[in-house]
Symmetry: C2
Subunit: 84 residues, 2 copies
């Protein structure tokens, strides 16, 4: 694997797992009033387009990274709506 591929995979992995702490924090504190609903919905829409883009390109890293990011952010959105 070349340096550029490793760099891209590291970037994709780190941005993807970065949403886990927000998910756990909201789950534990049961409070999400400071989290922007508009940001969540807009971000999820954009990540959904990235997923379609990855499917068109048949790029497994793009599909995986955005698929998992989508799941994490849907859970954060669900917690946001539940706890406000």
């Amino acid at each position: 694997m070349d340096f550029l591929t490793i760099l891209g995979l590291a970037a994709a992995t780190i941005t993807t797992i970065s949403f886990l702490p927000q998910m756990l924090k909201t789950w534990q504190t049961k409070s999400a009033k400071d989290v922007s609903l508009v940001t969540l919905i807009t971000f999820i829409s954009g990540i959904f387009l990235w997923l379609i883009y990855g499917i068109y390109l048949q790029s497994l890293p793009i599909i995986l990274a955005n698929g998992v990011t989508l799941v994490f952010n849907f859970i954060i959105l669900w917690l946001k709506i539940r706890y406000r």
Copy 2:
């Protein structure tokens, strides 16, 4: 411009601007206790790697999208540290 390029640019634009509402919300409410500091720092680290990736690839869309996302999230991080 082909469909795939338009799709990628739309995805990049939407995910990039999605952080504006969070920035404005935190700025206005002066409260960020529900926003995860670990998520912000991890996300910024990942976006920084994406920026380096874009510079290596000499891809203007990747550089622009991640450069602007980095600026927005640095401002959100600064507000988070300021207001807690």
